[in-house]
Each structure stands twice: as C-alpha cells, then as structure tokens.
Amino acid sequence: MARSSLLFRRIWHDAYYAVSGKPGLNFAMLCRDVAEMIDLKTTPTTLVGKVRFKLHLSLCQACWNYSEFSKRIQELMKLLVEEKAAAQKNAEALNQDLLKTFSKSEN
C-alpha cells in the first residue's frame, strides 16, 4: 500500500475520532466492536450501522489490516483444506463402506 495512502488514512482516522468519537455523539465505532463483526462475519442491519462500519474500516488502518488479514487467511485456508482433501482417496469408497454398515437393506 502506498505510503501516502497510509498517511491519508491515519490523518482522517484521528480527525474522525476527534469529532465523532466524543461522548454524546458516539458515531465512531470501537475497534473492538469492529473486530468482533469481522470475526463473527456479522454485518450491521441498519443503513447508519453500515455507514459507521464502512467508515471505520476506511479510516482505521489497524482494523483495515485486520479485515484484510481475515479475508486473506480465509482464502488461503480454503485452498489448503481443498488441497489436503483432494489428496485423500475418493470419498465414494468411504460412502460405500458406510452404506454397508448403516443401511438396513445392505446389511
């Protein structure tokens, strides 16, 4: 990521918190809550909630990194698991074996 983009995000992040994070206004979301939404893959249901979430992600470098890491590790994990599963023998052999054991008419 370009250095100017990082700087831009940092300046706006601080300004955003200075204004909208003040008690009484409380528009800025907490990093802790944003991280929770990323972990549980929940999305805000209201339009205002969506704006708050997106705005926070756009302005907070730490949460942006966390979100990007989460997306990337998910993609890589999926690839890894698919690769491992493909290396196993055909699942059909296992299915047939299970049918022999558990199906009534095959017993």
């Binding site: 590790i73 890589l76 296992l94």
Partner: protein, 191 residues
C-alpha cells in the same frame, strides 16, 4: 425438494439406502475437509468419520434439527477427536473474555498493538507450509471453530449449538485463533 425434519428422521430411522447414500455424499466431503484442516487424512480420518456416524445412529433422537445434519455430525466428530486427545477432553473457556480483550484492546476500545498489514501473506507454497505449521499452535477448540467458521462458513448459531458454547466463547476462540495465526505468520514471513 429438501425433506422436512420429520421426513428426514423417518428416513434415517428406516436407514433408507437411497437417502443414506445421498446424505453420505453430501456430508462426508465436508467431514473429510474438516479432518484435512487438522492434518488428519487417510484411514485415520475415515475411521473417525465411521465412528461419528456410528454414534449418530446410536443417538438418533438427539438430532432435533436445530442445526444442519452436517454441522451436527461435525460436532460429534470433534467430540471424537477430543476423546482421543485426553488433554482436551473437556470443552472449557480457555481465558476470561474480558481478560483476553483487555490485553488486545485499550479500555477505550482501541487496539493495543495494531495488526500489521498482511501484504506479505500471498499465495505460495511457502506460505501454505507456514500456515500448516502455525495451525499446529492452535488448540483443538480453536482449530475446530476456525475451520467451521472460516473454511466451511457455518453460521455462528449452528457452531454454538453443536459445540455447546456461547457466542462470546465463540468470539474468543475465533479471535484467539486468528491472533495466534497472525503472530506466528508475521514471525515466519518477516524472517
């Protein structure tokens, strides 16, 4: 058309071969992937899956349709794994929620240590090897939850039902799993 829970139960009690063949075809690749994510493959994985189905049919009435069949089976499978690894026999909350987040976030809700950019985390043989190595550092619970949530994209509610944990516990496990992976990968990729 998808059968209702009652229809499913009738077919399961009857051990209908056509229905079972479809169920096995649908569920087993998922179970094999869950095992593969834990580096359990081949006969060991198949044996565990066989045992899980055995337990399922012995306790058929416990399946109340609160979760999908595959997540329910996954829960049984994970319990089998836990039985194998006595040290992890009981599902417990590893850390107090507030303590964990107290370390990660300031009282105002900011990151104490901001996550670094994941730019170095690119798809390569080496990265995959690192991920496999780092996964070894996760506990059984963390790995189970992480694979179910991130790889299989199961619903949080389903995972909580099957593993009999609360959402806050799920959150702790997910956060901790990612934190461990992140730290481990950052260490390996920066060398």
């Amino acid at each position: 058309m998808t059968p209702t829970h009652e229809e499913t139960m009738t077919l399961l009690y009857a051990r209908d071969p056509v229905f079972l063949a479809n169920v096995f075809r649908d569920v087993n690749p998922y179970l094999l992937r869950v095992m593969a994510g834990r580096r359990i493959v081949g006969p060991e994985a198949e044996e565990l899956i066989h045992q899980a189905w055995g337990t399922f049919f012995e306790n058929l009435k416990k399946f109340e349709g609160r979760s999908t069949l595959r997540t329910f089976l996954c829960g049984i499978l994970i319990n089998k794994l836990r039985e194998q690894k006595r040290s992890d026999a009981k599902l417990h909350l590893e850390e107090d929620v507030e303590m964990l987040f107290g370390r990660a976030f300031s009282p105002e809700g900011w990151w104490n240590v901001a996550p670094a950019s994941p730019d170095r985390l690119i798809e390569s043989r080496q990265t995959m090897t690192f991920i496999e190595e780092c996964l070894e550092g996760l506990s059984e619970q963390q790995r189970s939850v992480f694979i179910m949530k991130e790889v299989e994209e199961d619903e949080s509610e389903d995972i909580c039902n099957v593993l009999d944990i609360s959402v806050s516990h799920l959150r702790v496990l997910m956060f901790r799993a990612k934190e461990k992976l992140r730290q481990c990968l950052e260490g390996k990729l920066s060398v």
